[in-house]
């Protein structure tokens, strides 16, 4: 019995170590994010959790002038376009396990910076928190 308990303990430890949350951000060498004032958030096709609205709200709350829409092209010229990919899992409830956000040049759409937040079930957070930490990681580089 003690062996089984030890083994299960090791399994739990190993799984816990393998499932650490991570937050990683990168920036193109020549990118200057400080010049960005206006942002267009492009809604991801099939976004069933309204992540685009959360991103837009967070950008507006942090001093940007952010708009959103489903079109790939912003209705008015902007400094940057934000795209994203969200992944969800189910563990008693649905939760966002991974969020990738890219900040692109407003004209060329080339990626200027990006970040990924990964949070497994035990370290899950709200969509608002995931969006906030990912955007903060991008703009604080």
């Amino acid at each position: 019995m003690r062996r089984i308990v030890k083994f299960l303990g090791l399994v739990f430890l190993a799984l816990s170590l393998a499932a650490c949350a991570s937050l990683q951000a990168t920036k193109a060498p020549s990118a200057d994010l400080s010049k960005i004032k206006t942002v267009y958030v492009q809604k991801l096709e099939g976004d069933g959790y309204n992540v685009y609205q959360v991103i837009t709200a967070r950008l507006n709350a942090t001093g940007f002038k952010a708009t959103t829409g489903a079109s790939a092209d912003p209705p008015e010229p902007v400094d940057a376009i934000v795209t994203y990919v969200d992944r969800w899992m189910w563990d008693l409830t649905m939760y966002m396990i991974r969020l990738n956000i890219q900040v692109r040049d407003g004209k060329s759409r080339a990626i200027l910076a990006s970040a990924e937040s990964y949070r497994p079930s035990l370290e899950r957070r709200s969509t608002e928190d995931m969006v906030a930490e990912t955007l903060d990681a991008i703009f604080k580089q």
Partner: protein, 175 residues
């Protein structure tokens, strides 16, 4: 006690061997049709990549993508030589901006987007800038092992990306 140790070692080996990095030779391309070749040298810098061990899934590292780019450029003879320092006539920068991967499934579609910048070091002017997005779907027929399937999808998306980049630079009419 022996059984316990055996199970523990087996579990740890499975966890530690679940992902392998994308390989440079598998990401490199050969036989790319280049319209015009340059007699000058090039230096390559890659940023934005990730090391596989930090994320537990197959990734593309800066060093491996650079090596794949180097091998591909040499095979296509796009430039005369690829220098390991920053003294090349041309400086090619590649920023791996997005590597979007699935969490699970039988078909793994990986989307890769790389922003390339080619600068003439003698004038300091950017002679080419392009963001190239490619994707590849690896299926169960590629590999039944999910970790391997993901790596194969990474490598194929990278190959397509590098191939497009070399073909585009080959149309620039570089000196």
């Amino acid at each position: 006690m022996r059984l316990f140790l055996f199970c523990a070692l087996a579990l740890l080996s499975v966890l530690s061997a679940c992902a392998t990095p994308s390989q440079p030779t598998a990401m490199a391309v050969s036989g790319v049709a280049v319209a015009s070749k340059s007699s000058e040298t090039v230096s390559i810098t890659v940023t934005g990549g990730r090391v596989t061990s930090s994320t537990y899934v197959s990734q593309i590292s800066d060093a491996d993508f650079r090596e794949a780019l180097k091998q591909s450029i040499l095979k296509s003879a796009l430039f005369s030589k690829v220098l390991d320092d920053n003294s090349g006539r041309y400086r090619l920068g590649a920023y791996i901006g997005a590597l979007t991967q699935p969490l699970m499934g039988m078909s793994f579609t990986v989307d890769l987007e790389v922003s390339y910048t080619l600068v003439d070091s003698t004038t300091g002017k950017t002679v080419w800038q392009q963001s190239i997005a490619t994707s590849y779907t690896a299926t169960g027929s590629d590999s039944i092992v999910a970790a391997t399937r993901l790596r194969l999808a990474n490598e194929a998306a990278a190959r397509k990306n590098i191939e497009t980049a070399i073909a585009a630079m080959g149309n620039l009419g570089l000196r």
